[in-house]
């Protein structure tokens, strides 16, 4: 995939494109929205069944998939909405690898507790 050019955020008002028209396609990818997140989703990879429901449900396409399997969260774009944790259908048998709690494969932790 070609490297996307990030829109310049420092143009003087005279140089901004009138009406906010965007002529570069797909540049929302370069707009980092992960900083809005207050809660972070974390996954127990060992206990994940790879059902891909989180990937289907994520409204920001922030769950990356490689070779048909969930690879990671894209924390540059995940806004922490928690839909993935809500939709995750798998009740784990062992304590979660990140939180140490029982519950779902995907759980939400405060962003301040994340590394």
């Amino acid at each position: 995939m070609a490297q996307k050019q990030a829109p310049r955020l420092d143009l003087p008002w005279r140089d901004a494109r009138p009406g906010g028209v965007v002529i570069e396609s797909g540049n929302s990818e370069t707009y980092v929205t992960g900083t809005w997140r207050s809660m972070r989703p974390v996954r127990d990879m060992e206990q994940c069944t790879q059902c891909l429901l989180c990937w289907i449900m994520c409204p920001d396409a922030a769950i990356t998939v490689q070779d048909g399997k969930v690879a990671a969260f894209d924390y540059d774009h995940c806004k922490g909405c928690g839909i993935c944790a809500e939709e995750c259908p798998v009740n784990i048998k062992q304590p979660h690898s990140v939180t140490g709690q029982l519950g779902k494969v995907i759980q939400m932790i405060p962003e301040t507790d994340a590394e």
Partner: protein, 397 residues
């Protein structure tokens, strides 16, 4: 100059004739009195195959302006019409049309806003929309409504403007009043408005663009500054378009129409049809040796501040006639008064100005009302005492 064909038309019909000649790509509209005749006549042209327009009969005015925004973003030349509460229902989309820099032309047949329910003329509808970022024309007659509609296309679509235009006329008074209206030949109008060539169009698939996208703390301010810049600087372009139309039609198109102002000591500033009544009174007063005058701006946004101030600066007393109230403004004055007095102050001209609220909800404004205002002005000019800031014409005391 080309020869106009004169015929008896009401103002609404005159506008629908202009729309027929302009033959826009898309018209999306919803009927509301007293605008109905505009769209009714035009939809007949669509049904009869006289125009090529895609007519979208939407379910509300909000939908009408939304459809116009979509069609204009797609690259079409777009027109619509509304009045009163219909314009109020468009509110959200008015700002979006201006912010997206879409050159939509909207005919407004001015009518009072409810409540209480009233279908007759005043300017509370379009005056309420004065800060939406549109260009606003006001017409005294059906003829001016026709002329302004055609000019509006060229103004809106000018590459250095790219803003929507509202072309207003007085509901019933000119909207339904039959008068002598000169129509230009179809070909002349077609040539005058030319072909719309949008800089960006959603249907231009060779050059894909996104419109109306996210514009956060990083650029929204810059885009608003640009809108301000356009409105601050577009007056010379509007004047040039008006000059072109004047040469084509042979009809005066001055941005600020003055009568008796060369030596006027007392003057009235007024928009739309009441300017005609005022001019008739001024003629009578001048026959009696009273140096009266009338100033009629054809344009309210952008406000032709310098031109109006130049016209009235040598007067001894000036009255503004406002057909709308800016509720809660100083002494409950009207929007034209607010703009004019701020222009006078900021251009360093000091003279006594009073505001007359008149004609709300279609209340008749008779020559005797205008005469009484001039009599008040004469008193102010003679005594140098301004008195009450805001007054009411034709209100039962």
């Amino acid at each position: 100059m080309v020869k106009s064909k004169y015929m008896p038309l009401d103002g609404a019909n005159a506008v629908s004739q202009a729309m027929r000649q302009i033959n826009p790509h898309v018209v999306a509209a919803y009927p509301i009195t007293p605008q109905t005749a505009v769209v009714q006549n035009f939809s007949q042209y669509v049904a009869d195959g006289i125009v090529d327009t895609e007519f979208v009969p939407v379910e509300s005015e909000h939908a009408a302006m939304s459809a116009c925004v979509g069609a204009s973003a797609a690259g079409a030349r777009v027109m619509t019409a509304t009045a009163a509460n219909g314009l109020a229902l468009m509110w959200e989309m008015l700002y979006i049309a201006a912010g997206m820099r879409l050159p939509i032309v909207l005919t407004v047949v001015n009518r009072a806003l409810s409540a209480p329910l009233n279908i007759h003329c005043d300017h509370s509808d379009s005056m309420g929309a004065r800060d939406a970022g549109w260009i606003h024309f006001y017409a005294e007659t059906g003829q001016e409504a026709y002329d302004n509609t055609i000019k509006a296309i060229r103004v809106a679509e000018h590459p250095d403007i790219q803003l929507p235009v509202m072309s207003c006329q007085d509901g019933f008074i000119t909207g339904h009043g039959v008068e002598r209206v000169g129509l230009l030949p179809d070909e002349a109008v077609k040539e005058f408005v030319g072909t719309y060539e949008p800089k960006y169009a959603l249907l231009d698939t060779d050059h894909p663009v996104t419109m109306g996208a996210w514009d956060f703390t990083d650029y929204y301010f810059e885009h608003k500054r640009q809108q301000n810049e356009v409105l601050n600087n577009c007056l010379p372009i509007i004047e040039a378009v008006s000059k072109d139309f004047e040469q084509l039609s042979g009809r005066d198109q001055s941005i600020v129409d003055c009568f008796g102002m060369d030596d006027a000591e007392i003057a009235i500033v007024v928009l739309s049809s009441a300017a005609g009544t005022t001019r008739a009174v001024v003629r009578e007063l001048r026959a009696k040796g009273i140096k009266a005058g009338v100033v009629k701006p054809r344009l309210f946004r952008p406000f032709p501040a310098q031109q109006i101030v130049d016209a009235v600066k040598n007067c001894k007393a000036v009255a503004v006639l406002d057909r709308a109230i800016s509720f809660g403004a100083m002494a409950g004055c009207g929007p034209l008064f607010l703009d004019l007095t701020s222009a006078l102050f900021n251009l360093g001209v000091q003279l006594p100005v009073v505001d007359y609220i008149y004609g709300l909800g279609g209340r008749d404004t008779m020559p005797s009302d205008i005469e009484s205002a001039f009599a008040d002005l004469q008193k102010i000019a003679d005594t140098g005492t301004r008195g009450e800031l805001v007054r009411y014409l034709g209100l039962r005391g």
